[in-house]
Amino acid sequence: MKKYLLTFALSLISLTAFAQTDYEKVMSDKIAKIENCKSLDEFQTLANDFDRIGKKETKEWLPAYYAAFVYIQKGRMLMRDGKMSELSAQANIAEKYLDQAESIAGKDNAEIHLLRKMSYSLKMMENPTERYMTDGMKAMEELRKAESLDPGNPRIALIKAEDTYFTPEQFGGSKTKGMEQFKDALAKFTTYSPKSKIAPNWGKAEAEYFINGAAK
């Protein structure tokens, strides 16, 4: 009987252990999907998945962080399609999730500041003329904060490189300078190790994509 009891107890333990890793498992599954998203619908589905996880795991900041990230990626896809008037709607939703993430993770989280930077940049792109002095400035400020909190973070290097790459030469940007910065970012990626299996670890493929000359 004792033996059975033990088995039973063990199986219970394994069940709870299974429940614990369930969060990480489901997160890993969803995170893996982000880079493969090909359509706005897929982004939306994924954002909703993270929202659902976030509502259950109220002590974890990553679900909200990824939900924000997915909305930003969705916004960037809209931007590539020239649908500028829809950018700030995406950015506003992303900011709501970032607030939520920040309330759990604290104000000194470089990854969250970086997403805020990306979100402000999105908003600015909707109407650069009007919003440069407001959202553009806020974006720069967030990037500065992120960098001072975590200078070695390869994602910050990647976003800076993108900024340089896409700014025309007349305005102080440059494709070649941008390339240098991408290489820099890639170097940082190779030595970077994420804090956990599900901690932010995106961007390497993007850096490679630029370095391999895929973006023309």
């Binding site: 059975y4 259950k56 650069p128 003329t129 002095m133």
Partner: protein, 746 residues
């Protein structure tokens, strides 16, 4: 064995518990499937997102009574209790629309809003104004490139839809700006006194404007001043006609700022170079200065102060129309003006308080004289002193996301002294007290209304009025909206005509405006039709002519004038079709007749053109760091009249002695701005060089005719110069505004 069996059963029941159950259904809004709805089995990871038809399906291992939640930002959340047993669960949900600011339709009949808050593409921001060729950096000039605003060269003011220049009023942060335009002499329009970059946005209403504003029969321009600057800066500008310098300091903790500027302008040099039509015996010159501070209080209030002082002078000599009496007539002007505006804004929970006060003083000293054989023969002095105080408070309460209730009051005090050669001395005082209430009602994202009422009392007239205003907006389809506006508007008779006793009343107009608008990414199309009915317009008569006087003095007689204006307008702006090119086209058709002032009968007003067409195009070429701008205006010839008096049974009656049509107005303007330091990362100065040519083709435009006393001779009223070239440099120090300029031109 028994225990083994028990264990097996337990295990099986566990396994059964882990078996997946499929949950599916359809989410609809008004019987149509809604995509992107987040369907969640509450407190689990399980759920799905609906496809474009509203269908969803997912599997769960949960059992028992659960709640399914449907969320979508545009709809109100729906919760459905379900019981999960072993068979598939099917759940459908019907959503209700959530009213929100971004999707709600906004009333836009009669108004063009230029702020970033509303996602309108019909913006006219400071940058738009600076880069509109022919606008000379002036807000009111740039507005003439929009539909509904007439280009009237000889007089300042916004001539909106068949209204006179004095039928429009200009406000700064809610407070009235008296004497918005610089003092001037007859035939030459005054200029905007206010620097365009002082304002971050504006709402221009060509009719049917809000109950918060009054005393304008035609339309209103609401300017919104800038908040705290983003950085400290020093700048100066230099050109052959002006010099100016200024600075802005931002407090270290970014909660206050202050700044000042000083400028001087003189047209003398240009007069030497260009062939002026107008003979300035004293070239127009002016001194202007301003001062500002802005600060945020700890409790979230925001104070803004802006004050300015300017003085200007000029003298104009014209060949005589009465050669037997004199050879030349001369008019000299000395003007002085100061304006101060203090505004305060704070949120208290659901309430928003907006209060503002403004004071202005304006002096215009005109001296009319004639010359015969180099000897001054007659002098008529016209000295005008005005003191104006405006006070206004508006309290706004939000009802829901898109509905609000506003109410407040306004006091408008005018005290004017006029001295006309001791022939007329007047002391005019008026206090207009107004109360108003307005509500924005959002019924749904498709339908909204604005209902308002304004009541005014004028101490001078000893009369009161009540003016209801109404506007509706309805979204026809995704990009199409339509709106309708109606309103009654009152305005006191112009004090400059009150030179003797008369029993007067408010002048009145009624507006009916219908608009259809289509807005898509980077493009905007507007169609507007309007009908405006005027009643109780001012009629004037000449005061008795005294020998030695060389100007007639008109005085208000009664309010028996009337009239109408109706028309159609089209506006098209497109930033998308051509790379780096932003262009817009506007066309206005206007049919108007009125019997007012000294008109002996109902006539087409001499300031109203039947057809007006304008086009503006801008292109920035990054490689050359240069922006190119052109604009074109065409206006069909306006009518002109020579109205004289004759004695009918001992009474002075006006009659039309001559009339005709002016030639059509044409002007092609060009300007370019070159940014030499653009993109130099370490550059400490930021420079913009500007070259602009107005009326590049040199069209000889005529604004009207002056007639001699007996009507036998006439002379054309023409612009001071046909073609004008301006070059200037604007330099800022201390801060790099390069990025600013780039983004302004992207």
């Amino acid at each position: 064995m028994k225990t083994k069996l028990l264990f097996l059963i337990t295990f099986l029941s566990f396994a059964l518990n882990f078996a997946q159950t499929r949950i599916s259904g359809k989410v609809t809004y008004k019987n149509r499937g809604v995509g992107e709805v987040n369907v969640t089995l509450k407190n689990t990871y399980d759920g799905a997102t609906t496809d474009s038809n509203g269908n969803f399906s997912f599997e769960t291992s949960e059992k028992g009574s659960r709640v399914l939640v449907f969320t979508h930002p545009k709809y109100i959340d729906v919760e459905k209790p379900i019981v999960i047993e072993n068979q598939e669960v099917s759940v459908n949900a019907e959503l209700k629309e959530q009213i929100n600011e971004i999707d709600a339709v906004v009333v836009s009949a009669g108004s063009i809003e230029a702020s970033d808050k509303k996602r309108s593409t019909t913006l006219l921001t400071p940058i738009d104004i600076y880069t509109t060729a022919g606008a000379e950096g002036q807000i009111t000039s740039a507005l003439t490139y929009l539909p509904g605003v007439q280009k009237v060269g000889e007089t300042e003011g916004l001539f909106i839809r068949g209204g006179t220049g004095t039928e429009s009023k200009i406000f700064m942060d809610g407070s009235l700006i008296n004497n918005y335009f610089s003092n001037s002499v007859p035939g030459i329009a005054g200029r905007d006194r206010f620097n365009t970059s002082l304002f971050k946005g504006n709402v221009f209403s060509s009719g049917g404007y809000s109950a918060l504003y009054g005393q304008a029969l035609s339309g209103a321009l609401m300017l919104e001043s800038v908040d705290l600057p983003d950085q400290s800066s020093y700048d100066f500008g230099v050109s052959p006609i002006f010099l100016n310098a200024g600075f802005q300091r931002l407090g270290d903790n970014k909660n206050y700022s202050y700044g000042a500027s000083l400028g001087y302008s003189n047209l003398k040099l240009m007069q030497e170079i260009f062939n002026f039509n107008t003979n300035f015996s004293e070239a127009p010159q002016s001194v202007n200065s301003d001062l500002n501070f802005r600060f945020k209080t700890k409790s979230g209030g925001f104070f803004k102060y802006y004050g300015k002082y300017d003085s200007n002078r000029m003298a104009v000599e014209t060949p005589s129309l009465e050669p037997e009496n004199y050879d030349q007539s001369l008019v000299k002007l000395k003007g002085k003006n100061t304006y101060h505006n203090l505004s305060f804004k704070q949120k208290f929970g659901k309430y928003l308080l907006n209060a503002g006060a403004s004071y202005s003083y304006n002096q215009s000293d005109l001296d009319f004289s004639t010359q015969k054989d180099e000897i001054q023969t007659g002098s008529t002095k016209l000295l005008n002193d005005g003191n104006y105080i405006n006070f206004k408070t508006v309290l706004e309460r939000k009802i829901n996301k898109i509905s609000a209730l506003r109410g407040g009051f306004e006091l408008n005090s005018t005290s004017e002294k006029l001295n006309f050669n001791d022939f007329v001395t007047k002391n005019y005082k008026d206090l207009i007290s107004s109360a108003f209430a307005e509500t924005d009602l959002g019924f749904s994202n498709q339908l909204s209304a604005k209902i308002g009422v304004r009541a005014e009392h004028s101490s001078y007239l000893g009369k009161s009025n009540i003016a209801p205003r109404l506007a509706l907006a309805y979204r026809l389809a995704k990009d199409w909206t339509t709106s309708f506006a109606y309103g009654i508007f009152y305005q006191n008779p112009e004090s400059r005509y009150i030179n003797g006793p008369a029993n007067l009343d408010f002048q009145k107009s009624q507006h009916y405006i219908f608009q259809v608008q289509r807005t898509t990414e980077g493009r905007s199309l507007r169609f507007e039709a309007f009908y405006k009915k005027y009643d109780d317009l001012l009629k004037v008569k000449n005061l008795q002519y005294i020998d030695g006087q060389n100007q007639f003095v008109q005085t208000a007689d009664n309010n028996s004038g009337f009239g109408y204006a109706k028309g159609l307008e089209l506006f098209w702006r497109d930033k998308k079709t051509f790379d780096n090119i932003d262009y817009w086209i506007s066309y206005s058709f206007l049919d108007s007749k009125r019997d007012f002032m000294n008109y002996p009968m109902s006539l087409k007003p001499n300031f109203a053109s039947e057809h007006t067409l304008s086009a503006v195009a801008k292109r920035f070429v990054p490689e050359w760091k240069t922006g190119f701008n052109i604009s074109y205006t065409y206006a069909k010839g306006r009518p002109y009249y020579d109205i004289a008096t004759q004695d009918v049974n001992g009474e002075q009656k006006y009659f039309v002695r001559h009339e005709g049509k002016l030639k059509d107005y044409n002007a092609l303007n060009f300007s370019l701005n070159y940014l030499p330091n653009l993109g130099k990362k370490d550059s400490k100065t930021f420079t913009v060089l500007v070259l602009s040519v107005t009326n590049i083709l040199g069209s000889k435009n005529v604004y009207g005719y002056n007639f001699s006393m007996d009507g036998s001779r006439s002379s054309a009223v023409i612009p001071p110069v046909n073609t004008f070239v301006f070059v200037g440099a604007f330099i800022s120090f201390g801060v790099d505004k390069t990025q600013d300029a780039i983004n302004n031109n992207l």
